[in-house]
């Protein structure tokens, strides 16, 4: 390593400036469009399924962006992100189940969930962030599996495999009128009823927005720069005097806390919490796919990746089903197009993407190379 010091003067010329400017504009434009669409989702896409999709996108943007803090900005690969997501969700769900559907239950349960996530992240971080990245990946994978087993086995608290169903504060019930018209029915704005469901959506949307902006702030802060310095060259960062383990653990805790917040939003929106929707390894895979497809280390990539993947999940399957039906006379093809096999195609796309565009969509457009 000693050789590098004398030759730092020779910088790489940036010949791609013009191209990346257009790319940046594209990315910001896309993100702005997505933001606008989400902000107006109840009015633009009033049907129930679209509402589900929009709310899921909001929650996952937070979840995936917090994961990007780890994988993209710090170079940590963790498989325990669903564990923290689940802690937030289960904390909220259990508190509502025992205390009844009030905001104080959400606050208390969610708070406990967040604290639990922070403590666990601190433990795991201090324990294993000092060793190799790959070791850390294995430790988190093991931890996440144990959490999943615990959730399904401590059925007295968690409802086991079935999970917990509960009601949420009355304000968010579809029957609640935010503004009543002369007949006592919920007032309609552009044909959309101003009811509790709308309030719930905006609760999720605004919380997600605040969390996302908070993470943007973190990335732009000195902490963000230190983390990137560590990612680029751990030994040098250590030599300059940064306590690498401390910074890594700090960002791991922050990411865990944000993931727990996303879990709270998920729990409130779904009125249900179970291993399948918050803890399963499939969700972890989703997060990973979303962040890589969107582009690691950009934050904007998380937004793009989540939207793309979620739309694919909801609508590509329909398309595949049509394809399978149309090709039912052929051998093998219908099996390959079976909607249940959609992960096969996604997996293949994912591998190709990691080979050829490791910076993901946003990263490639913005000209950010992934470190080699």
């Amino acid at each position: 390593m000693a050789q590098t010091t004398s030759a730092i003067g020779a910088a790489v010329p940036n010949s791609k400036a013009g191209r990346t400017f257009a790319g940046r504009v594209t990315v910001y434009g896309l993100v702005a469009l997505i933001g606008l669409a989400l902000a107006l989702a109840p009015f633009l896409f009033p049907d129930v399924r679209s509402q589900e999709v929009a709310a899921r996108i909001c929650v996952f943007i937070v979840l995936v962006a917090s994961y990007d803090l780890l994988i993209g900005y710090t170079g940590i690969v963790s498989f325990a992100h669903t564990m923290f997501f689940g802690l937030g969700a289960y904390g909220t769900a259990i508190a509502i189940k025992t205390m009844g559907p009030g905001f104080e239950a959400i606050l208390l349960g969610g708070g406990i969930g967040i604290v639990a996530a922070l403590v666990l992240a601190l433990l795991i971080g201090l324990l294993s962030l000092r060793v190799k990245a790959i070791f850390f990946a294995m430790v988190t994978l093991a931890a996440a599996s144990v959490m999943m087993v615990l959730a399904s086995q401590l059925s007295d608290f968690t409802g086991g495999e079935d999970g917990i169903t509960y009601s949420i504060p009355k304000l968010f019930a579809p029957a609640t009128e935010l503004l009543a018209d002369a007949d006592g029915k919920a007032l309609r704005l552009f044909g959309v009823a101003l009811n509790g469901k709308l309030a719930l959506y905006y609760f999720v949307f605004i919380s997600a927005l605040v969390l996302f902006l908070g993470m943007l702030r973190i990335v732009a802060s000195p902490l963000g720069s230190v983390l990137q310095a560590i990612r680029e060259n751990e030994m040098r960062a250590e030599a300059i005097g940064y306590r690498v383990v401390v910074y890594r653990t700090a960002i791991f805790c922050i990411a865990a806390g944000v993931a727990a917040c996303a879990g709270i939003l998920r729990a409130v929106w779904l009125k249900y919490t179970g291993p399948e929707v918050v803890l399963s390894f499939d969700i972890m895979i989703d997060i990973l796919l979303m962040v890589v497809i969107g582009g690691m280390g950009t934050m904007w990539g998380a937004v793009i990746g989540v939207v793309l993947m979620t739309l694919a999940q909801y609508y590509l399957k329909d398309l595949m089903a049509l394809g399978a039906e149309a090709s039912s006379a052929l051998p093998i093809v219908p099996d390959l197009l079976n909607p249940e096999r959609w992960l096969l195609w996604l997996g293949l796309c994912f591998i190709l993407l990691v080979y050829f565009f490791p910076a993901g969509i946003a990263g490639t457009l913005m000209g950010k190379g992934v470190r080699r």
Binding site: A2, Q3, T4, T5, S6, A7, A10, A11, V12, R372
Partner: protein
Amino acid sequence: MAPVLQLDDVHTDIAQYQILHGVSLAIPQGGVHVILGRNGAGKTTTLRTIMGLWKARSGSVRFRGDDITRLSTPDIAQRGIAFVPENMGIFGGLTVEENMRLATKDGSFDTQRLNRVHGIFPAMAQFWTKPAHALSGGQKQMLAVSRAIIERRDLILVDEPTKGLAPAIIRNMITAFREIAEETTILLVEQNFYFAKALGQSVAVIDDGRIVHSGTMAELASDAGLQSRFLSLSLEAH
């Protein structure tokens, strides 16, 4: 006589940093030849580029007249270049014998050569069956050099063999290298001018990825002006 090793305008980058800015060097057959330079000047990079562990971006490395610039490390090694890296590259979990056996061509020892190595470094015979991680720093260095000479090689690259060694062991090393140089060529990278002066026939001084001086060791050793120009750092240290 044609040089055994010739570098021509070699440029090497590590990640985005350019380390060697056109190194040219000719090493004649036989004897000990030294590259001196301060930390970060590009000494190790030069050796690693010769060995193919880092690839030159441009320029050429010729060994006995053949271009080896683009060859893989194993191919370069098989052509008869041995490498003793800065960290010695000892396999700590293997015994001294196993370490040496790996360096033989077909896994068996030539008794005569083995006796010669044991003659140069008696400690190797003494610790023959011990795991290498149990050796002292000096003994590890001896093992690393032994490995390089257990087969006949045309060129041995040695990266700072005196680093961290006690003066008594350094004197031992000087004797050993002199004996080894009787049958082969040694290219030595050093910061320790005392050691370099005792061994070297020719010397090149590298700074900032370029050769800034080359000539005979006798010339450099006797010319205080040259020394202060090129080696101020090294001389202060010794």
